[in-house]
């Protein structure tokens, strides 16, 4: 009886795993099957208005990129503060918890917040509003990984630095952060991968445009929002373009994730 139950249980877990993996494989399969068909040179050389995706891909990367450039110093400094200066005091723990809460806050709520503080006063959607929304989403992720990575730095390294008379600032920047560099880089890449696929906070902050634009003060082209718009259109060609966009987006996200893993593995070995 015990052995029978055991066998049943093992079969059940394996089956559950197979069912789960089946759905996930199904998603990837349709994505590739539908996405690769539409792949051609026009996608990368023409803008959305002419049936390509050039402007929206560039727009998406630009918004995520600018958000990352602003988010990196803020996130890393906050992480450093929590780990190196904050210690284990109540307020530090509180900030840490808040950062975690923010990390799992619904992204659409961040969108409504940015809409209220940027889009309503300026009266129109803009690239900067999108950047701000992505920035808010990404900072907690960088804070969390920086905090975790710095925690792994052996205390002896800090003590050695202090012992030879280096200031806390020097120890932190030249010893601690350098030691944890690979881990922090991974965190940044993962944060970038996360925001590059965000749609919900962009729908009414950046909007989406069909034309080429690098001007962040106006409505900005976005790949994810365009996918959403294209996929809900009745026109088959539009839907096809949406699938191609979805395929490219997923490929991009997966490659960045793999890069992040590679960066952290290299460090460990």
């Amino acid at each position: 009886m015990r052995l029978l139950m055991n066998r049943l249980f093992l079969i059940f877990s394996t089956l559950a795993a197979l069912v789960g993996l089946f759905f996930l494989a199904w998603i990837l399969y349709t994505l590739c099957a539908k996405g690769i068909v539409g792949l051609n040179l026009d996608i990368f050389t023409k803008d959305l208005i002419d049936g390509g995706l050039r402007n929206v891909i560039v727009g998406q990367i630009m918004m995520s990129g600018v958000a990352t450039i602003i988010g990196i110093p803020v996130g890393i400094l906050a992480g450093i503060y929590l780990q190196e200066y904050g210690g284990n005091s109540k307020s530090t723990e509180f900030l840490r918890d808040l950062s975690d809460v923010m990390m799992s806050a619904p992204s659409i709520v961040v969108g409504t917040f940015v809409y209220a503080i940027v889009v309503v006063p300026t009266g129109h959607t803009s690239g900067w509003a999108g950047v701000l929304a992505l920035f808010i989403l990404m900072v907690p992720i960088i804070v969390r990984t920086t905090d975790d990575m710095l925690k792994l730095v052996p205390i002896e390294l800090r003590e050695a630095g202090i012992a030879i008379g280096a200031s806390k600032y020097h120890v932190t920047m030249n010893i601690v952060v350098r030691y944890a560099k690979a881990g922090i880089l991974t965190g940044i890449l993962l944060a970038f991968a996360r925001v590059v696929g965000e749609t919900a906070p962009l729908i009414y902050t950046s909007g989406s445009s069909e034309f080429w634009s690098t001007d962040l003060t106006s409505t900005f082209p976005s790949l994810t929002v365009s996918i959403y718009n294209l996929a809900t259109m009745p026109d088959d060609e539009m839907v096809q373009l949406g699938w191609t966009g979805a395929f490219l987006l997923t490929t991009m996200v997966l490659i960045i994730n793999l890069l992040g893993r590679y960066a952290s593995n290299k460090k460990r070995s």
Partner: protein, 341 residues
Amino acid sequence: MELIFRKIAQLSASLVFVILAATTIVLYISAKPAIEEFGAQFIFEERWGVEETIELSPSEQAAQDALKLESIESTGESSDGESFVEDDDDFIMDDEDDFITDDDDEEMGSGSQRTKVIYGALVPIVGTIFSTLIAMLFAIPIAMGIAVFLSEIAPGALAKPVGVAIELLASIPSIIYGMWGLFYFGPFIADLFGGNTVSLLVAGLVLGIMVIPFMAALSRDAISTVPDMLKESAYAMGATKLEVIKDVVFPYAKSGIIGSIILSFGRALGETMAVAFVIGGVYQFAGKVTDPTNSIPVVLANSFAESSGLSLSVLFYLALVLFVLSFVVIGVAKFYFLRKK
């Protein structure tokens, strides 16, 4: 230099707090007109964008509020679609009665009146909660199966690549899941259970599939913290794998596993894109699970652009409700289950 650096770092850290506080405050201020207009009743009101004529004289208004409250209390929070429809009819009839008396009043030249558009969040709130519950019912057994399979059953050569694949899948943007749900999974479910290709059921299942990799990866991490020594001791006493997992692994990793479930719950609760494609977006309770309904994030995503004035404020109110809801879920996860690392 030292001091400046420290100050800047501190400032960055406080920024997190500032943003969170600002979000709450801004949402509250933007939602204020709607909060004043509808009060807490907003949460229990099931109509959305329905015009209603109301009296402005305070005593009449109070009477009508009482009437509405009564109806709402009788409606309760049950998810039974049929009874809701009936209650809805009652509502309309009440309104008509009021309307007639209003007309009489006007003929007599007393009392002022105006039309007011009623917004209520009950449909999206119920839709959000139910789609999330369906997602959890579906995802928990499968995710646990995957986690146990990866950590206890599969040989190392298989567990590693599959584990990596699961983690990668957790990073796929949610819009992809939504799109797949709309074009492939929805029709598949409609063939299987009948009903629409967009429905509460499809939305819940797509959400479930979306959180499976996330939940499985977190649970596997929790399970892998169980010391081998404990497991080996149990095996040495002749325990089967099931007994080891049930009596040693799960109790040890319990808080981590529950935490992973709650975090997934929070993620599913606030998810927009995976649901937006497949829930249907109609302001109606789903009488059957195969009926379309609505959820808070989807309402926000779909109607923000074309709203202004009071209807915009209503959306901010809705966002605030969602924010508080997810805040509570994540708070519970953090403070009760993930406290000890």
